[in-house]
């Protein structure tokens, strides 16, 4: 009797013990990005506790800085007058506690290499800003995810690049600091160096929220390809006038190299950019930003242009000119070309694009362009922000100012440490290259000049044109300005619709542009589903905002 009493209970206990494992086992899946209650809630708690604390601290600091401001401002004024525009002014923080500012940037880099750069950088900032800097770099694949986590969990982030997160979203959710005042007091040089048009691209409401980088601010569209094959087949690119011409080139390549894909996608996108102003997302665009001043927001996917493009790609895919299953390919286009399996790919371009990609791929690259350079709001990104959870907003601003104006700092961040990550090849012209025996894959510190605030005060890389920076300026100045440049769409009001449309967009768009789906059948379905998901509401809201923006501008 007694035995029987105990046995089932024990049996059940064991069963339960084993069973408890099940949900946890299921969780061991990586990239489980759904921010479910468990993880989230833990963060909430932290934020709830810490946000109370930070607000106290920051309000205390605000009052403190009000006292400090006049003196700091005065020194800054005196400094900038004394040292002219050449040397960035130093702001005096010697009366403050030394801190460590945290700097986040995308792109692969080993921790050890980052520490090396941080150490060198701290040597400069300790003297100028009375602070240390700790640089963290995270690869493209997980940067946004990790940044999101850090921003939502109340972790300390001082200066960071939001990569493809929109400034308006970050500003509206209160994750970044408004910068206008800070720029006027601790970032004068930067404030003056950037044009009002460019500032407008990162203004939300009445405040500037991010510092646009000094890089290519426009893009032209084209097709990049291997020069050796172009030469081998005797192709004269200057004779290629339109997509039909490109088609003939690709056909020739296909005939000569049947084992090679004439065109490959870049991370699953055959055509990442179209000849429209996408206005933040693709839901509601300006169909002709090149020649017209019209600010009419239209549905790209219903347009004749989109249909023609998809039909063309579908035809090309049928002829075997495009890599099959393009939209599922997770490889970068450059890697595909590097592997020798591909001839070329579509891309947006800029001055120096050829040499940049020749360096990256290790094969000589030539380009053929089909759309002229245009400057749109999104080309002023990724910009640089100061996190709401910064330990010292003023010092962060001063650091950002240093990154924008001090060649030594800019070089350090872009190229790394001399002798370790690069060596000087021509001191006179300021040309550098990888040190002996090292290359892009072994150096451990990814070089992404355009991602940093100011590439134009850094060294030129081996193979770059000597006039690269002046050419780049010329390129920026002569580019067509989209009539909507400076406008940023705030999607807070239509987030439900955007979420639904985003899913439908992933379902159809990459596959349509990759030539995998028949546009005759698919586009009507695509448009229908978008309508059901509320693209009309998004377009109406966008139109309302852009009209208000235009009226405000006048």
């Amino acid at each position: 009797m007694k035995n029987e009493d105990i046995q089932p209970a024990a049996g059940k206990g064991i069963g339960l013990l084993i069973i408890c494992e099940v949900p946890f086992g299921g969780m061991e899946v990586i990239m489980k990005k759904k921010l479910v209650a468990v993880i989230l809630a833990t963060m909430v708690l932290c934020t709830a506790c810490s946000s109370g604390k930070t607000s106290d601290v920051s309000s205390g600091k605000d009052s403190g800085s009000n006292d400090a401001q006049p003196t700091a401002g005065a020194t800054a004024d005196a400094d900038s007058q004394k040292e002219a525009a050449e040397e960035p002014s130093t702001y005096d923080f010697s009366d403050r506690e030394p801190v460590t500012l945290k700097l986040y940037m995308f792109g692969d880099a080993d921790t050890a290499q980052c520490e090396l750069v941080s150490e060198k950088l701290s040597e400069i900032t300790r003297e100028k800003l009375n602070c240390d800097v700790q640089l963290t770099r995270i690869g493209f694949g997980s940067y946004v995810t990790q940044l999101n986590l850090a921003l939502s969990s109340g972790e300390q982030i001082d200066v960071f690049s939001p990569f493809n997160l929109s400034t308006s979203t970050l500003a509206n959710s209160g994750q970044i600091k408004p910068l206008t005042k800070l720029l006027q007091t601790y970032g004068k040089e930067t404030y003056e160096a950037i044009s009002a048009d460019d500032w407008a691209c990162h203004t939300v409401g009445d405040d500037i929220y991010a510092v646009p980088p000094n890089k290519d601010k426009a893009m032209d569209l084209g097709f990049m390809m291997r020069k050796d094959i172009v030469d081998e087949l005797g192709i004269d690119l200057s004779q290629v006038k339109d997509f039909n011409g490109l088609h003939d080139v690709l056909v020739k390549v296909k005939e000569a190299h049947p084992d090679m894909y004439p065109a490959v996608p870049d991370f699953g996108n055959m055509l990442g950019y179209l000849e429209v102003d996408q206005l933040s997302d693709y839901f509601g665009v300006l169909l002709d930003p090149y020649t017209s001043d019209s600010l009419k927001v239209e549905n790209l996917f219903e347009s004749e242009y989109y249909k023609e493009l998809c039909t063309m790609m579908y035809g090309w895919a049928k002829e075997g000119l495009l890599m099959p299953d393009a939209s599922t390919n997770t490889e970068s286009g450059n890697n595909l070309i590097k592997s020798g399996k591909a001839f070329g790919r579509f891309s947006h371009m800029k001055v120096g694009f050829e040499s940049e990609n020749t360096n990256a791929i290790g094969m000589e690259i030539v380009t053929w362009k089909y759309a002229p350079a245009i400057s749109v709001t999104s080309k002023l990104s990724p910009a640089w922000c100061i996190g709401e959870n910064t330990v010292d907003a003023e010092r962060s601003m001063a650091l950002l100012n240093l990154m924008y104006n001090d060649p030594e700092v800019s070089n350090l961040l872009i190229n790394g440490v001399e002798g370790v990550h690069y060596q000087i090849l021509d001191a006179q012209k300021g040309i550098i290259g990888y040190p002996e025996g090292k290359d892009a894959t072994t150096v451990g510190y990814a070089r992404l000049p355009w991602g940093w605030p100011n590439e134009q005060i850094s060294y030129l890389w081996q193979g770059d044109s000597e006039t690269l920076w002046s050419d780049l300026n010329q390129f920026n100045l002569t580019a067509i300005q989209s009539p909507a440049k400076g406008f940023t769409f705030d999607n807070a009001m239509v987030l439900n619709e955007v979420t639904a449309c985003q899913n439908i967009y992933t379902k159809y768009n990459p596959a349509l542009l990759g030539g995998q789906l028949d546009p005759e059948i698919t586009i009507p379905k695509f448009v229908e589903e978008l309508k059901k998901a509320g693209i009309g509401t998004i377009i109406a809201e966008k139109q309302k905002q852009i009209d208000a923006w235009a009226a405000n501008k006048k």
């Binding site: 089932p8 064991i14 069963g15 069973i19 099940v22 949900p23 299921g26 899946v29 990586i30 990239m31 990005k33 759904k34 921010l35 479910v36 468990v38 989230l40 809630a41 833990t42 909430v44 708690l45 934020t47 709830a48 946000s51 109370g52 607000s55 946004v144 921003l151 939502s152 109340g154 997160l165 979203t169 970050l170 959710s173 209160g174 994750q175 099959p324 299953d325 939209s327 599922t328 709401e388 999607n491 439900n496 955007v498 979420t499 639904a500 449309c501 985003q502 899913n503 439908i504 992933t506 379902k507 159809y508 768009n509 990459p510 596959a511 995998q516 789906l517 589903e529 998901a533 509320g534």
Partner: protein, 317 residues
């Protein structure tokens, strides 16, 4: 009469006290686990409020304005029917197929007499469970890729099929591919659980059955399966609780995020991920989490109530 009940009660009380005292060390051993549960699973539940707020980090979560159910709206828009169907449909299939396969294999394993072989098979069937889903997705890709895939280049030509199949743009195959992948990956783990139960069945039942002249099949039918019943029910109840969740890796990584497949691969988790990846909206993502938990909770309660009606002793609570 009266005094008798009083003494009876007193005696019972004494027995209770003694029993508690006897089990005290066990209760003490439970304390760390309880604290862990409290800290890890219960306190964070307060985070549910995020789902009802328009979070603004500048003023803090607690001070952010309440916006009612607005964060939940996006779950019921556009493809809502499709993602619900996919999430629940696939889970139902998994819940039915996995135990069947796992139990069959557990019983077969138990029939093996060589110890070495038994351990070898146990290890082999557990291997897929231990492989990261990203690796699994590339294994699947190696099989299915249009250009270099094993199926298109080696298997199909053997059967005289020359035309290459674009697996990643043909949704009709994916319900099978996904179920196959999931079962292949997950059955090893369930098998081990069932195997542990099978091993634990009292041998005397089998002896008695042998004396009664039962065949092997009859022993399985009348001894093993009935003894497994409560494990099966408990495991199933728990999977029902997670029926509104989907394995993100399985539905996002394995189909390589291919657009044309979305009709059969989009589940609630991938929908939320795709929709919010760019928008970074903490309120909406937690709304999705809360919604999943609430539905899961209701499903568990309902399933348990049904079990209570049918076979009381096997219910969870």
């Amino acid at each position: 009469m009266n005094t008798a009940t009083v003494t009876e009660r007193r005696r019972q009380k004494g027995r209770f006290a003694r029993r508690y005292f006897r089990y005290l060390p066990l209760y003490l051993m439970m304390v760390p686990g309880m604290i862990y549960l409290l800290v890890n699973n219960y306190i964070p539940m307060t985070g549910i409020i995020i789902a009802f707020k328009q979070v603004n980090f500048r003023i803090g979560i607690l001070k952010s304005p309440f916006i009612g159910l607005k964060n939940f709206e996006f779950l019921f828009r556009g493809d809502a029917w499709l993602i619900t169907r996919n999430t629940i449909g696939y889970n139902l299939v998994f819940i039915i197929i996995t135990p069947i396969i796992a139990i069959s294999i557990a019983i077969l394993l138990n029939e093996l007499t060589k110890k070495g072989l038994k351990q070898f098979y146990q290890t082999v069937i557990l291997v897929p469970y231990l492989i990261s889903i990203v690796v699994v997705s590339y294994l699947v890709y190696a099989l299915l890729s249009t250009e270099n895939g094993f199926l298109n280049n080696t298997i199909l030509p053997l059967f005289g099929i020359k035309e290459k199949i674009g697996w990643y743009s043909s949704p009709q195959y994916w319900p099978f591919i996904l179920v196959l992948t999931q079962v292949w990956k997950g059955f090893g783990y369930s098998t081990i659980i069932y195997f542990a139960t099978v091993v634990g069945i009292d041998q005397s039942y089998y002896e008695a059955a042998s004396i009664d002249g039962a065949t092997r099949w009859e022993k399985v039918k009348h001894v093993t399966l009935p003894c497994l019943k409560s494990t099966v029910i408990t495991l199933t109840l728990l999977s029902i609780g997670r029926m509104f969740y989907s394995d993100f890796g399985l539905f996002y990584q394995v189909p390589m995020n291919s657009g044309p497949l979305l009709d059969v691969t989009n589940t609630i988790d991938t929908y939320v991920y795709r929709g919010l990846m760019q928008n970074n909206n903490i309120g909406m993502s937690s709304a999705a989490g809360v919604f999943q938990s609430v539905v899961g909770f209701i499903l568990v309660l309902t399933a348990n109530a049904i079990v209570n009606k049918v076979s009381r002793e096997d219910a969870l609570f």
